[in-house]
């Protein structure tokens, strides 16, 4: 852990300590407990990759010779693709492993799989798993950095970071930089959402005011302890918001009926142009995808030029994942100050 003394003075040239003290963790299992400058360090590191990704030639050899395993125990298309592209653009050898759902839940298979992967001497393992805490369990058993690509309903740290980076780029275009005083409304299935948890940790740590909005059945108990304001009335939650982040209904995680119907959900929590008008005039619209158009978000809002950041989120995702992979492999690559 970083000692409190390591925190840089406000106004100093660097926003974070030098060398590995800027991010003194082997793994990225979650954003909970990370210091503000650790988050900013990763965001700043990602900027160069945003630039690179916009060039015609998008490949560097920074991670040449390194092996990255993407072990996905839960179905994923977008996140897996994003991590694969990130690793390849850094020059690493990337292999993807899809693990059949049925064989995982039994006995020691998960640990056995982790040990098997470890024996192949990867330089980083990216893991997605359907159970909260599973990534940390694997991280304890392997010798290389582990990146959490989403574990159950716990965390999805690269999503939290990419959302913060997306917001920051949009703020800069408007002459702002700081998250302080920013009001972010996260609306949707908070209960089942690891995206919401990582975003809450990230945004509150960076100084934003976060409102979470959901019907009672989709609002986890005691969420106010995470320094957010829980609300049930979407119109009130939108009032004066600078950023509106919509979440998908995770029907696959629901046991039993949480809402009467998609139509009724849209009636109360769908982001329509009329609703969006209650937020700040230039409020930003975000969605981690995949979207249910016509349910939690109307097409006209999702496609709103200049306001909707949904495709930019995807773009930032690759850059953030490149930054995380590059930073976490610095020790193995013997980078000065990190070895």
């Amino acid at each position: 852990m970083t000692s409190p003394d390591a925190r840089p003075e406000p106004g100093t040239a660097s926003r974070y300590p030098a060398g590995s003290a800027a991010f003194p963790h082997r793994d990225l299992t979650g954003l909970a407990g990370l210091a503000p400058w650790e988050l900013l360090f990763l965001l700043d590191e990602a900027e160069q990759w945003v630039e690179l990704n916009r060039q015609p030639h998008k490949r560097v050899d920074r991670l040449a010779g390194l092996t990255i395993i993407n072990a996905f125990f839960e179905n994923s298309t977008r996140t897996l693709l994003s991590f694969e592209i990130a690793g390849k653009r850094l020059g690493a050898d990337v292999v993807n492993m899809h693990v059949a759902q049925s064989s995982v839940k039994k006995g020691e298979t998960l640990i056995d799989t982790a040990m098997t992967l470890n024996a192949m001497h990867p330089d980083a393992i990216v893991i997605r798993h359907q159970s909260s805490g599973a990534v940390r369990l694997i991280a304890d058993k392997v010798d290389c950095p582990v990146l959490n690509a989403g574990d159950g309903q716990n965390e999805h740290p690269t999503q939290g970071l990419l959302d913060a980076l997306t917001i920051r780029t949009a703020l800069r275009e408007r002459g702002r930089e700081d998250f302080g005083g920013l009001t972010v409304t996260i609306c949707g299935d908070i209960l089942h959402s690891r995206v919401a948890r990582s975003n809450i940790h990230c945004l509150t740590t960076l100084g934003a005011d976060v409102r979470v909005c959901a019907p009672p059945a989709l609002m986890p108990a005691g969420i106010e302890a995470m320094k957010v304001t829980p609300m049930h009335d979407f119109d009130a939650a939108l009032e004066g918001a600078d950023v509106v982040m919509m979440l998908r209904l995770q029907q696959e995680r629901m046991e039993g009926q949480f809402i009467p119907s998609p139509r009724e959900y849209r009636h109360l929590y769908g982001l329509t142009p009329e609703r969006l008008a209650k937020a700040q005039p230039d409020a930003l619209v975000m969605h981690p995808g995949p979207m249910n158009r016509g349910v939690e978000i109307d097409s006209t809002v999702a496609d709103l030029a200049g306001r909707s950041l949904i495709t930019r989120q995807v773009e930032m995702g690759v850059a953030i994942r490149m930054a995380c992979l590059e930073v976490l492999t610095r020790k193995a690559r013997g980078l000065e100050g990190w070895a």
């Binding site: 798993h129 159970s131 369990l137 995470m226 039993g256």
Partner: protein, 411 residues
């Protein structure tokens, strides 16, 4: 069978039904206590054991263990264990009950709890009278409640007639769903499926109402929340034949302990809030809770080295049952006599077995206990079949120095 010479334990402190332990001796012959206190003195030919100031206490009667794990039971001073019906072969037939009842003898007596319903599925009543006559000492619903109130009503009225206590699991299954934690800040931070603590009070309220209606004797195996304990307290005040139990986990730990996704703290019911933990301690002090049991459920890595929600619930509790209960004595929550009432005489009375008390004529199930001896719980050095204890590396005080079943020394 070789007859044992009479046994006299001298220089001990005898744990009685009330008050502080009294210095004295205890003599037993033919497997039974024949003299206690001042009247007890060794006679020619006796085996004589100097207790060296240790407590002379009744062997523990563990109401509700999930496995017969003799080394762990003996380490913990347990001489009788009521076995939950949730076994590989569910205890829902007389033959299974008869086999289980014989499985620990001679040095551990197992009292099977008959499955209330066939296969513990909560639908059809099992053959309770036949199982009673095969040796079942009570009836239990197993790890889950019986969802259908009509079935529960019929079960309780039938058991009232048979004179069998019904041991229940107090969690409303509909509200609990697939929860592995109590709803609240910790479960929310971790992203674990959770259910409101009120799931317990709902089940307790229903089962008390039905017990009151039918006159059945109801034992709520684990009551872990303030709201449910209030229901038990008021039912007892009305004279309802209800008793309540708990395991040390719920008076020692709150849900803060699940913070690291440590599956050894994955229990059923799940760990509760700190306020509920304090309510359990108050209920132990004021007599609302009648039984402390181990809930002994040794689980190996194949059940526990998994993500939290995928792991099986349960802890290996037999070895820590006594020291953690004696911790309540040191904390001034209860006195020594009440500690052994909770651990031995109350559960024995519930099961209707002649044990748990050191009186003339009682079975000579005796534990010598050094209540102050310190030791450190260590998951990888336990006597139990598996080391899944949430108290790993914790220092405790109180250890059994000798154990006798029917006057015969164990180990």
């Amino acid at each position: 069978m070789k007859t044992l010479a009479p046994l006299t334990i001298t220089n001990g402190r005898i744990v009685g039904p009330a008050g502080e332990p009294q210095a004295g001796a205890l003599r037993c012959a033919d497997g039974r206590v024949v003299a206690v206190g001042a009247a007890a003195a060794p006679q020619d030919g006796d085996r004589v054991i100097d207790a060296k100031g240790a407590l002379i206490a009744p062997g523990l009667v563990d109401l509700g263990a999930f496995a017969i794990d003799k080394p762990a039971f003996h380490f913990g001073g347990i001489t009788r264990a009521a076995l939950m019906p949730d076994q590989g072969t569910v205890l829902d037939k007389p033959a299974a009950v008869r086999f289980a009842a014989q499985s620990g003898k001679p040095d551990l007596w197992v009292h099977p709890l008959a499955a209330a319903t066939k296969g513990l599925e909560g639908r059809e009543l099992a053959e309770l009278a036949l199982m009673r006559d095969a040796g079942a000492k009570a009836v239990a619903t197993g790890r889950r409640w019986i969802a259908d109130s009509g079935t529960m009503h019929r079960l309780l009225s039938y058991c009232a007639m048979l004179g069998l206590v019904v041991v229940t699991h107090s969690e409303d299954g509909g509200l609990a769903g697939n929860a592995v934690a109590t709803a609240g800040e910790m479960a929310t931070r971790l992203g674990l499926p959770s259910a409101p603590a009120e799931a317990e009070a709902l089940a307790v309220a229903r089962d008390i109402a039905l017990a009151e209606l039918t006159g059945a004797r109801l034992h709520l195996r684990q009551v872990t929340t303030a709201a449910a304990l209030d229901l038990v307290r008021s039912a007892k005040a009305r004279g309802v034949a209800v008793t309540a139990g708990v395991t040390p986990a719920h008076f020692m730990l709150s849900d803060v302990s699940i913070g690291d996704f440590r599956t050894f703290t994955r229990l059923s019911p799940p760990l509760r809030s700190e306020a509920d933990r304090q309510a359990v301690r108050s209920a132990l002090a004021d007599g609302t809770i009648d039984v402390i049991a181990s809930g002994h459920d040794p689980r190996g890595p194949e059940d526990k080295r998994l993500p939290f929600a995928d792991a099986e619930p349960g802890m290996a509790g037999a070895e820590t049952l006594l020291p953690l209960t004696l911790g309540l004595v040191r904390d001034g929550v209860i006195d020594t006599a009440r500690a052994f009432a909770l651990l031995a005489s109350n559960p024995a009375a519930l099961l209707g077995v002649d044990a748990g008390r050191l009186e003339v004529g009682a079975q000579a199930d005796i534990a010598l206990v050094d209540p102050d001896r310190p030791w450190v719980v260590s998951s990888d050095k336990m006597a139990a079949a598996a080391g899944n204890t949430p108290f790993d590396r914790q220092g405790v005080q109180g250890r059994v120095t000798a154990l006798f079943k029917g006057g015969a020394a164990i180990g």
